[in-house]
Symmetry: C2
Subunit: 223 residues, 2 copies
C-alpha cells in the first residue's frame, strides 16, 4: 500500500475483544436486554464530559458510576461490591476469533503493534493476558497516561509520543466511528473494523481502510 | 436563599420539554422500544466527539447522522427526507405540565430567565413557540453561538457573557447529570430537575438545589 504506516495502534474493547460477557452480566443485573448498550454509550459520553471539563476518573470508576445511574433509574439497589461483581467480566473477555491470527500476521510483516485503550492500565493488562493477545504487542498504553479520553487529540498525541511515531506514520485501528473520527483529525491514518452493529460516523472523514476483521486487515496491510 | 442568583439558565430538552413524541417516532421507525434512548445518548456523545476534536455540525445534523448509524445497524434504509420526517417531532414537543407555572413564578420573582440549549437556533425557537414557553424568557441562546456543545466550559462562558452575568450569580437548571457537572465546574450554581429516568452523575459535585419539577424549583427559589 502507498504511504504504509510503521505503527499500528489498536483499540481493544469491541475492536479485539468481544464485550458480550459483560453485556450479558449487565443486562441480567438490570433485567433489561437493552441496558448494556445504553450503559456503554453513556460510559463513553461521561468519559468525554470529564475530559471536556478538565476532570479525570479512571474508566472503571466512570463505568461503575454510570452503572449506578442506570440501576437507580430502574430502582434497583446495588452495593459497591455488587457493582464490581456485575462489571467483573470486563477482565475476562474473549478475543474475536480473527484477532490472534490477524495480529500475528501483522507482527510478522514487521509492524510495530501498540494496544491503546480508554481502560485503566491494570484492567487493560488483565484483558490482554486473559485473551492471550498480549504476546503480539510491542507496547500497551492506556489513556490514563494522557489524562484525557479518546478521541481527545491529547490522547492520540500521547500514544504517538510513547510509540515514538509520527502521526502520518501511524494508523489507528478501531471498531468505533468516534475513534476513527478523532484519530483522523489528529493526523493518523485510520482503519475501521466492521464489528457487528458498529458504524462509521457519517459526518467524519472516511477511514483509509475498512476491513471486516483483523485477518482481513492483515491481508490488506501486507499486500 | 443565600447567595441568590440573578440569572437562571434553563436547559430545554427533557428539562422543560418532554421528548416522548420524538422518542416514539424513532422507536417506531427503528422497530425497537429501546432505540430512542440509545440514539439520544449517542447524540450527546457524538456532539462531544465533535467539540473535543475541534469540529462543529449543528445538533440536528448530528441527530440525523446518529439516527442513520442506528438504522444501518438494523439494516433499515432511510432517505434523507425520511430521516427528517422521523425526527420532525422535535419541534412539536409539549412542555412538562409544571413548566409554565414554574417559569411564570420565577419571572414574577424577578429572575432573569434564559433558555440555553444544544439545539440549533431555528429548532430551539420553534420549540419554545410551539410549547408556549417563549414568553417567559428574556433570552434564548443556542450553543451554536459558542461553537462548542455543553458541557464544554466555553458553552457556559458564552451564555454568561450573552446574559451579562457572572458565573457565581447564575444558576444552570437541567435534568441531566452531565449539564449539572459541567456548569458547576464552570463556576455556576446548579439546580437539578428530577425528571423520570434522569440521575445525577455520582462522580460530580452535588448541585446547589434539587427539585422534582419547575414549580417545585420556583418554590425553593422564592422562599
Amino acid at each position: 500500500m502507498r504511504n504504509r504506516p510503521e505503527t499500528l495502534i489498536f483499540d481493544v474493547n469491541e475492536t479485539l475483544l468481544d464485550l458480550e460477557p459483560i453485556k450479558k452480566s449487565i443486562n441480567k443485573a438490570l433485567k433489561d436486554d437493552g441496558a448494556a448498550e445504553i450503559w456503554f454509550s453513556q460510559l463513553l459520553h461521561y468519559s468525554l464530559v470529564e475530559s471536556i471539563t478538565g476532570t479525570y476518573h479512571d474508566f472503571s470508576k466512570i463505568a461503575a458510576a454510570v452503572f449506578r445511574m442506570n440501576a437507580e433509574k430502574r430502582q434497583i439497589d446495588f452495593s459497591e461490591e455488587e457493582i464490581r461483581e456485575v462489571l467483573s467480566p470486563i477482565t475476562r473477555l474473549p478475543a474475536y476469533p480473527d484477532a490472534e491470527k490477524g495480529l500475528s500476521n501483522l507482527k510478522n510483516a514487521g509492524y510495530h503493534l501498540v494496544a491503546f485503550s480508554n481502560g485503566k492500565p491494570s484492567v487493560l493488562k488483565e484483558q490482554l493476558h486473559f485473551s492471550g493477545l498480549e504476546v503480539f504487542f510491542d507496547q500497551v498504553l492506556s489513556v490514563e497516561g494522557a489524562g484525557k479520553y479518546k478521541p481527545h487529540p491529547e490522547a492520540y498525541n500521547y500514544a504517538l509520543k510513547a510509540a515514538r511515531s509520527k502521526a502520518a506514520k501511524a494508523m489507528m485501528v478501531a471498531a468505533h466511528g468516534w475513534d476513527i473520527a478523532g484519530a483522523r483529525r489528529a493526523g493518523l491514518q485510520t482503519a475501521f473494523i466492521q464489528r457487528p452493529g458498529k458504524q462509521l460516523f457519517p459526518l467524519a472523514e472516511e477511514p483509509n481502510i475498512q476491513a471486516s476483521h483483523i485477518e482481513d486487515l492483515a491481508e490488506k496491510m501486507t499486500q
